[in-house]
């Protein structure tokens, strides 16, 4: 029997359906996006610069040693703190004076401890090279006691790594005030930087372009000579080629009466919301510096985050800083001696800093310390040094400006080899600032501290050292910034057509 040729359609359709069904069943799942293939890698190498370390000092120690040990006033020491585990065999730490041909000196590592060493014999920028897992855990802080007349004035600065962009807020170039910008270059190639200063009249910054910093050298730029007469100013350092490690030291005196010496911490780049931790408590003047580097006037308000809670003072609900101008606001009427963090909310990107000044002694001498805006802590943040002794207080100012409480663990790293770290878990209530005196945790003379945010709301922290000598008070302060420990290594793809329009 001859079949109807049209029946051929049946197996054909069946075959097509079968193929379609099988394809739908066995089709592979598409790969994820390229971004998901990014890898996070730990930073395992860093070159830090302590801008002015070492030196023989100018005389016998006065009033004890800064950061432990007997050091001549005027000399700078380097305090280290290693929060890492004990087995850091892959780690190396060396110091050397910045400059071609300088030899690197190894530094003994003390895992889980803090320690202090002398800087080079000559006062010089010092390069601290760290590699291995220690890179995550190490903090190096330069401590200096500068004798101004007969009055020693303490200052501390974080030894930091190179960058291409940095902001500082709060220095002055008025008569008697000096602002010295030190640009260090730890790379092997020449760097070039532009410096822009705001604070003058007219809103336009004063710009010094093309400051060349040769490889392995430091250039000192007197900002007060570039743009003198500014009561308060903001400076922006931008490397147009290479990288620099900028550090800004401000000092002021009235004749032979010292009015303050300290390093300005780097503050965050212009933004419409800035949080400044570390407004110190106790007596003295507290100032907030708000700079507007933009071309539009900024209207801003302040929120004070104190131990009593966060509030917006009525007089600070709507302030204005003109385009290109820098404002200085006294916080004393609001804070009245309370330690605080200030949150600035602005309509335009602004740069913010803070100045805490100790009350003058009988001679009229005083000291000041600077703070700056920072990002919330994102991980364990180590700060080295500090002193705990009679008349010397080392405190942490922990602020949680958000509504949520912030859990935090504070680990004190001892200097004594046999002493174990002291762990203190605490909670910073939301919208408040908590002051933690390290003396309540340890009696170690120069303890390092690790601040570990444990969850909850954003946490900001500052570290301060107060030294009361007779009737004078020395202040110095560091703003805690969690270092960049990891880098996002993007997936790369060889594409011959890359770059074609």
């Amino acid at each position: 029997m001859r079949l109807d040729p049209r029946l051929a359609a049946v197996p054909v359709v069946a075959l097509v359906v079968a193929v379609t069904w099988v394809a739908a069943v066995v089709a592979p799942t598409p790969h994820g996006s390229a971004a998901s293939l990014s890898s996070v890698i730990a930073v395992r190498e860093a070159n830090l610069v302590c801008p002015q370390a070492g030196g023989a000092g100018t005389g016998p120690a006065a009033g004890g040693a800064l950061a432990s040990g007997a050091t001549s006033p005027g000399a700078a020491r380097i305090a280290y703190a290693d929060a890492g585990p004990t087995d850091s065999a892959d780690s190396h730490l060396t110091t050397q004076a910045l400059g071609a041909g300088a030899s690197a000196a190894p530094v003994a590592i003390q895992p889980g401890h803090g320690w202090v060493v002398d800087g080079p014999v000559a006062l010089t920028p010092t390069q601290v090279s760290v590699s291995g897992s220690l890179t995550d855990a190490l903090s190096a802080v330069q401590f200096t006691r500068t004798m101004v007349g007969t009055v020693p004035q303490a200052s501390a600065v974080q030894c930091d790594g190179p960058t291409t962009d940095a902001w500082f807020a709060g220095f002055s170039s008025n008569v008697g005030a000096h602002a010295t910008l030190l640009l260090s270059n730890v790379d092997s190639v020449q760097a070039s930087a532009n410096v822009s200063i705001w604070g003058g009249e007219g809103g336009e910054p004063t710009v010094r372009q093309g400051i060349v910093v040769a490889a392995q050298t430091q250039v000192v730029v007197a900002l007060d000579q570039i743009d003198p007469g500014l009561p308060v100013a903001v400076v922006h350092v931008a490397a147009t080629a290479g990288r620099v490690v900028p550090a800004l030291r401000a000092d002021a005196e009235n004749g032979s009466i010292p009015l303050g010496v300290d390093w300005l911490p780097r503050t965050t780049a212009p933004a419409t919301t800035q949080t400044v931790p570390g407004i110190l408590g106790d007596a003295g003047s507290r100032q907030l510096v708000v700079g507007n580097p933009g071309t539009l006037d900024a209207t801003y308000s302040l929120t004070a985050v104190t131990s009593d809670g966060a509030y917006v003072p009525t007089e600070f609900t709507s302030l204005t800083v003109a385009a290109g101008d820098v404002s200085q606001i006294s916080l004393d009427p609001v804070l009245q001696g309370s330690a605080a963090a200030i949150v600035v909310t602005s309509t335009q990107p602004v740069v913010v800093g803070g100045i805490s000044t100790s009350p003058p002694d009988g001679t009229g001498a005083s000291d000041y310390a600077f703070t700056g805006a920072a990002l919330p802590l994102s991980g364990p943040t180590v700060v080295a040094g500090g002193e705990i002794a009679a008349g010397r207080d080392t405190t942490l100012l922990l602020s949680a400006p958000g509504a949520d409480d912030a859990a935090v663990r504070v680990v004190v790293l001892p200097t004594q080899p046999d002493s174990p770290p002291v762990v203190n878990d605490m909670t910073v209530p939301g919208g408040t600032t908590t002051v933690l005196d390290l003396a309540s945790l340890t009696t170690d003379p120069a303890p390092g501290v690790v601040v570990i945010p444990e969850g909850g709301g954003p946490l900001y922290a500052a570290w301060s050292l107060t030294e009361v000598l007779q009737d004078s008070t020395d202040l110095t302060e560091l703003v805690l910034q969690t270092p960049t420990r990891t880098l996002l290594r993007p997936p790369v793809q060889f594409d011959p057509g890359a770059g074609l329009p």
Binding site: D4, P5, R6, A8, A9, V12, V13, L15, V16, V19, T20, W21, A23, A24, V26, A27, P28, P30, H31, S33, A34, A35, L37, S38, I41, E45, P162, T163, T164, D187, S188, V189, Q190, A239, T240, A241, G242, R243, L487, L488, R489, P490, P491, V492, Q493, F494, D495, P496, G497, A498, G499, L500, P501
Partner: protein
């Protein structure tokens, strides 16, 4: 009439005494007519003699009955015409009493009238000739007008001459009919021996026909000699002969000549030329003969007639190796020569006659093709109207206009984007890329270039030498080309022109076309365009053997009188498949299962021709595309990825199978998915046909094959060789195959549509079919409209493509030949990069594999740089010979900021939208790496690689070191050194004896000789340097690229020879009884040579 009849006063033209000499050989078929014609001449001959050359039929009896036994001579069967005539003239010396006789009208003239047994004179033929003799007393040889035996309107000859190559020229077109256009009495070089009337005294004076010319050219040789002797040779068109040309047309075998008549013909032609030409022209003629022999032999080889080529060569040699015989013959001719050669020259064919013949023949063949293709040509309308009413032409023009409008944004400038890298300006550059053994791409590559570059280069050479224009024509013109190919290929299946136009337009506007163009898929676009031709040729090649048993095919061929075609159709199929596979190798893979099925079917049916054809089709592409095909074998991912720069952004991430069935391959710039749904429905209707279901089933077979293949391609994640990238394939050509199959089936349904609808009662089928047909008819129109509206999308660009700033490009040539890496942040967070030397990436670079080690090294450096680990990245980049980094200015805030923060690179300037960073470490193609030092030293300017590059001045060193060449390690890289002439070099070499081997200090610096030990460093080629100062040259030793090119050429020639239709072989005699086409022309020799002794 007998031989005793000498003279009759009552005869017309009584002073002429005519002896008819008839030579017969197996001519019983024509002889009665011939004899009757001679005997019924109005002016009878006085004597009629005949020679029978050993006939096996009744020729002898017929002759005896006609002329009497005494007048018939017997001759051997092998005796030629000239010898037979000589035999007769010797036997019947003179007419009795002739010497003392004188007529009233003048002196008696005796004539010989030479007759063939197959040539019958008209009744008045002799009378007309004698009348001419009276009118022109100086005439010694008179010829007749020869017409066809059966078709007496067919002109066979009205006099003859020779061209410069010795070929016979009759001035007639093949198959020319006699309208009296050649009538008139005129001087010619020669006349045919059939009916030749020659004065006997002249005959004897010239010695008759040359015995060296037994079969061919005896007439032209005799006529030439007669002319040179001062006699007139005249054609008398009033004398008409019917001539069967029995020998020439193969109606009877040649018995008197050799088994190779062509060789004898050429030998005779050369002999005639060399013995009769003037002494002055003899050397030139010899050279010309030799050259012509080589050329003609080559042409015979091309025409696949090797025996004829051999005959040609043998003929030439056999004449030239007999100089004594030639000289003897020339001496003999010199005795009768009375006038210079230049006076005879006007009787020869002018220069260019042969070329004109070939041209006319070619034109005729084209006209034949045109007539077959379209009846419109045969009408009497004007040329323009005929052209514009050609459906195929209208189709192509329409598709061209649609294409140009849709591609309006990319018509100017250099095409690039998607998978397409910009082509170099010159086709020569592309050709150089194809032939080069080492490619100066960013990383450098030793990969053999893909063959499609050669094809583009060749097309570019035709298009004014522009490779960019070639790419434009191939990519942007793929739609009209595909339409034309589909129109041609559909002819065997679809006889209705409108349906063919619909099929071709629908195919050309399938989503694959716009998708290929929009994503810069040059390979798929070309493969899509040639796919119909591939299917046509493969089908024509493979289907007949499947339907016909080989033996049956042979017997059919024999019965029909044609030659068995053999495997010839497979060669062009293989060639076209190779062409398509060169652009998209998936085409070959998709067809392979179908070919395998054909192979099995042929084996089952014992059709060995089919088996051979399949094997040829299967083997030609891989053989012709070697060594690229070998690379595809080793890296099957390339089959999926296709040619060009693969990208993950150009195809759907997960393609549903139903999309492919709807001819939608996924990717950018495609029409709506429902657009082609009606084609699948129509194809289903094709499957329901009751009659002739074969094409529809074949179409579905094709579609299912494409569907399965396409789903595999779309589902496979292919790893790009030489890199870490993985992409899914794009089932473009597979979807095209599905489309071709469905359209074939749909067209079958369309063919039957009208008859089925009209022959059945009205019901639901009619409206349904009408709707379906209307939707199908609208499909190409809608596809064209969508394409025009969407354009070519945003992937394909046209415009300037220079990335490298001039100063970077200049420094990439000089100053260490360092390279540049270009970074481009991707949309999903990745960083794309490429490496450049002194030029941008160009067409083909993406197909040249890079060394995975190098890619990994540079990839790691780029990742470090992008992450902000600048110092390490700078070291890695410098070790890879990279000096500059280009980052788009738009990425300053992201990638640019990270790079700045990482250090290691310094910003130079911003140009053309690019920020240029310079790696702050010594980077060059050649560097000296000391042990334990990450900062490599450059050997100084000038540097270079190559045997002729300036030598590198290597200073002495206290420590061990290597010379690093930032290329992938390969044994082909070599370095040689001599001691530098300076004291540290030469003296040092002596002091450190043996460091420079046998060269030492004594050899000149310009003659490097000591190979440096090869090593590797950081995945790069390196050479261990001596601690002494030395002059070093680094170069690359030759590899086997030239061998492969030669192999490709040989395969191409073999395939072309196989593909060329074979010419008719001279040895193939046509069988008696078969009608003979008089217009069959020899493809090499032109019009058929008229053999004198027919």
């Amino acid at each position: 009439m007998t031989s005793s009849a000498i003279r009759h006063d009552h005869l017309v033209r009584p002073r002429h005494v005519v002896t008819a000499v008839l030579v017969a050989h197996d001519g019983a078929r024509w002889l009665p007519t011939t004899l009757h014609a001679v005997k019924t001449q109005r002016r009878p001959v006085q004597r009629f003699v005949a020679v029978d050359t050993g006939s096996h039929d009744s020729t002898r009896e017929l002759l005896e009955r006609a002329v009497g036994a005494s007048s018939v001579l017997d001759a051997p069967r092998e005796m030629g015409f000239g010898a037979a005539v000589a035999m007769a003239t010797a036997a019947f010396a003179r007419a009795p009493g002739l010497a003392s006789t004188r007529s009233d009208s003048g002196a008696v003239v005796e004539w010989l009238w030479l007759l063939h047994d197959d040539s019958a004179p008209a009744p008045q033929a002799l009378e007309a000739m004698l009348e001419l003799a009276d009118e022109m007393p100086s005439v010694a040889v008179i010829g007749a007008k020869l017409l066809g035996w059966d078709n007496q309107r067919l002109l066979l000859e009205v006099g003859a001459t020779l061209d410069r190559g010795g070929r016979r020229e009759t001035w007639l077109e093949p198959g020319e009919l006699d309208h009296g256009q050649h009538d008139g009495d005129r001087d010619v070089l020669a006349v045919s021996t059939a009916g030749m009337l020659v004065r006997r005294d002249v005959w004897e004076d010239l010695g008759g026909f040359d015995p060296a010319l037994p079969l061919f050219r005896d007439d032209t040789d005799f006529g030439w000699r007669a002319n040179l002797a001062g006699h007139r040779v005249v054609i008398c068109s009033r004398a008409v002969f019917r001539h069967a040309q029995a020998t020439t047309s193969g109606l009877r075998p040649i018995a008197c000549g050799p088994s190779q008549p062509r060789r004898l013909d050429r030998q005779s032609a050369l002999w005639t030329m060399l013995t009769n030409c003037s002494a002055v022209w003899l050397p030139w003629t010899i050279l010309r003969v030799m050259f012509a022999g080589v050329v003609r032999s080559s042409l015979f080889v091309v025409a696949k007639r090797p025996f004829d080529a051999w005959d040609e060569m043998r003929a030439t040699v056999s004449v030239l190796i007999r100089p004594r015989a030639l000289l003897r013959a020339r001496r003999a001719r010199r005795a009768t020569r009375r006038i210079p050669s230049r006076e005879v020259r006007p009787l020869f064919a002018p220069r260019g006659t042969r070329a004109r013949r070939y041209g006319e023949s070619a034109r005729e063949r084209l006209a034949d093709i045109g007539r077959r293709d379209d009846d419109a040509i045969t009408d009497d309308r004007g040329l323009f109207r005929r052209l514009i009413t050609q459906p195929g032409l209208v189709l192509v023009l329409g598709l061209l206009i649609v294409s140009l409008v849709a591609e309006r944004h990319v018509l100017k400038g250099t095409l690039h984007g998607g998978m397409l890298l910009p082509a170099p300006a010159s086709a020569g550059d592309l050709w150089n890329t194809y032939t080069a053994s080492w490619h100066a791409t960013g990383f450098g590559s030793t990969t053999d270039a893909p063959p499609y570059l050669a094809i583009v280069a060749i097309i570019g050479a035709v298009l004014f030498g522009s490779a960019q224009l070639a790419v434009k024509v191939l990519l942007l013109g793929s739609v009209p080309i595909a339409g034309l190919m589909a129109y041609i290929a559909a002819r065997p299946i679809v006889t209705t022109k409108r349906l063919r136009v619909w099929l071709a337009a629908t195919y050309a506007l399938l989503p694959v076309a716009s998708g290929s163009i929009a994503s810069g898929r040059l390979g798929t676009a070309v493969a899509f365009a040639v796919l119909p031709l591939v299917l046509l040729l493969v089908g024509q090649s493979l289907l007949p053997p499947l339907y016909t048993h080989a033996r049956a095919e042979r017997s059919t061929a024999r019965r029909s009188g044609r030659r068995v075609v053999g495997v010839r159709p497979a060669w062009p199929a293989g060639l076209v498949l190779a062409l398509g596979a060169a652009f998209d190798p998936m085409l070959y893979v998709l067809l392979a299962p179908l070919l395998a099925v054909a192979l099995i079917a042929s084996l089952v049916r014992r059709s060995w021709v089919g088996v051979r054809r399949v094997l040829i089709v299967l083997s030609v592409p891989p053989a012709l595309l070697m060594p690229w095909s070998a690379r595809l074998w080793h890296h099957p991912a390339l089959l999926v990825l296709g040619v060009g720069q693969p990208s993950g952004q150009l195809q759907a991430r997960r393609l549903p199978a139903i999309d492919m069935l709807l001819l939608h391959p996924g990717g950018p710039s495609l029409p709506p998915i429902w657009l082609d749904a009606v084609i699948a429905l129509a194809a289903l209707a094709g499957l329901l046909q009751l009659t002739r279901p074969g094409p529809a089933r074949l179409g579905w077979l094709l579609a299912i094959d494409g569907l399965v293949g396409g789903l595999i391609v779309a589902g496979v994640q292919a790893h790009v060789p030489g890199s870490s990238n993985t992409f899914a394939g794009w089932p473009g050509i597979a979807t095209a195959m599905v489309g071709a199959g469905l359209l074939t089936s749909a067209a079958v349904a369309g063919t039957r549509l009208r008859s089925r609808l009209t022959q059945t009662n009205f019901g639901w089928r009619q409206p349904l079919a009408l709707v379906l047909a209307s939707a199908a008819a609208a499909t190409p129109l809608a596809a064209g409209a969508f394409w025009i509206a969407d354009g070519t999308g945003h992937v394909l660009h046209s415009g300037p493509v220079n990335i490298l700033p001039p100063f970077v490009a200049a420094e990439s040539v000089a100053h260490g030949q360092a390279r540049t890496v270009v970074l481009e942040p991707g949309p999903s967070g990745q960083v794309d990069y490429t490496v450049l030397r002194d030029r941008n990436q160009q067409l083909g670079d993406a197909d040249l594999l890079s060394d995975p080690g190098q890619v990994a090294v540079v990839g790691a450096a780029v990742a470090d740089l992008s992450a902000g680990i600048g110092q390490r990245a700078a070291t890695e980049l410098s070790h890879a010979g990279i000096r500059y980094v280009l980052v788009p200015e738009s990425a300053d805030a992201g990638l640019g900021a990270r790079i700045a923060a990482g250090g290691g690179v310094l910003p130079q300037n911003t140009t053309g939208g690019w920020r240029v960073w310079e790696v702050q470490a010594n980077a060059g193609r050649l560097a000296i790496a000391a042990t334990g030092d990450d900062d490599w030293q450059l050997p100084g300017d000038p540097v270079g690689v190559g045997r002729h590059a300036p030598t590198l001045q290597i200073p002495f060193s206290l420590g061990s070191r290597v010379l690093v060449l930032t290329e992938a390690p390969s044994s082909a890289w070599q370095a040689k050194a001599v001691a530098a002439p300076g004291p540290i070099g030469a003296v040092g070499a002596v002091a450190t004896a043996g460091q420079l081997g046998e060269v030492g200090a004594g050899q000149a610096a310009s003659q490097p000789g000591t190979p440096l030990p090869s090593t590797t460093l950081d995945g790069m080629q390196a050479f261990t340097l001596p601690t002494t100062a030395a002059n070093v040259v680094v170069f690359r030793s030759p590899d086997r690229r030239a061998d492969w090119l030669l192999f490709e050429l040989v395969v191409l020639l073999v395939a072309l020879l196989g593909a060329i239709p074979a010419g008719g072989r001279a040895g193939e005699q046509r069988r008696p009884g078969r009608p003979v086409r008089s217009d069959v022309a020899d493809p090499v020799a032109g019009p058929p040579a008229q053999v004198a002794h027919a």
